[in-house]
């Protein structure tokens, strides 16, 4: 059941992205920025949490889920340690993913060369 919901919710979020690309010609970079920011604000409004509870990775794996982690971290940080927490919370919650992206991104860029596209 978990997997069905992950599939449906994750797939649904990607369809929203596809519609934005197809209908508004937004570039992928803008899509990523829009999705992260949307994730942060939807989390702040309490609208994203139910999606995470229902869809699990279907809601956390898309970039809106990255925004969810940032937003939740900042809110929890703010509740625990005030203004300092609001600044540290988001980065703390996403540190693993960001650090992994930097390291694995760097290593892959060093090791591999671009494949020629047909």
């Amino acid at each position: 059941m978990d997997y069905l919901w992950a599939f449906l919710i994750g797939g649904g979020i990607c369809v929203i992205g596809q519609l934005l690309i197809s209908l508004t010609r937004l570039t992928p970079a803008r899509i990523l920025v829009v999705f992260v920011t949307a994730g942060v604000f939807l989390t702040a409004l309490g609208l994203y949490e139910p999606l995470v509870e229902l869809g699990g990775a279907g809601a956390t794996v898309p970039l809106t889920g990255f925004g969810y982690s940032l937003g939740m971290g900042a809110i929890e940080g703010a509740m625990e340690s005030g203004v300092i927490g609001a600044f540290t919370g988001g980065m703390k919650a996403t540190a693993g993913g960001v650090s992994a992206a930097i390291l694995f991104g760097y290593l892959n860029a060093l090791i591999f060369t671009p494949k020629t596209k047909k």
Partner: protein, 150 residues
């Protein structure tokens, strides 16, 4: 306000419209749905692995899932496989966090010849940078508002 066109220009424009590949939004959405769904199911499997056999806490499971998915996305990009998936999957390969990893590796790989600092080092962030700028700024704003409304 479009300029008045000569007959020749009109003919040309008509020809362009005929030849332009028509993107079928509906079939692209189906592809994005299926591929995005599959990627999220892989993420769910990683999550279950973290929560179950590895016995990680909830926060650590979230970090673990992000790290593994980023690793997969970055490595498949390096191997040239992710871009092949992307031509079929469209947004299904862009929106998941594996697409974020792809957006980090691709430009860095492309600009390697410009050196290790301003080539690889800087281009790693050509798309990830804006994502972090807007995401982190928004999170601080939200955190501050939550603090004031507490």
């Amino acid at each position: 306000m479009p300029k008045p066109q000569t007959a020749q220009q009109k003919q040309y424009q008509q020809r362009v419209n005929e030849k332009m590949p028509r993107s079928n939004t509906f079939s692209q959405c189906i592809r994005a749905f299926v591929s995005g769904g599959i990627i999220c199911c892989i993420g769910q499997a990683v999550r279950d692995l973290g929560e179950g056999p590895l016995g990680l806490s909830q926060d650590d499971t979230a970090a673990f899932t992000a790290m593994v998915m980023v690793f997969l996305g970055a490595t498949l990009t390096g191997l040239g496989i992710y871009d092949k998936i992307g031509t079929w999957a469209g947004a299904g390969s862009i929106v998941p966090i594996t697409g974020f990893a792809n957006s980090i590796v691709s430009p860095a790989m492309e600009f390697k010849r410009e050196g290790f600092v301003m080539g690889v080092g800087a281009k790693l962030f050509s798309i990830a940078g804006p994502v972090l700028v807007y995401g982190v700024s928004a999170s601080i704003l939200v955190g501050l508002i939550a603090y004031l409304m507490r």
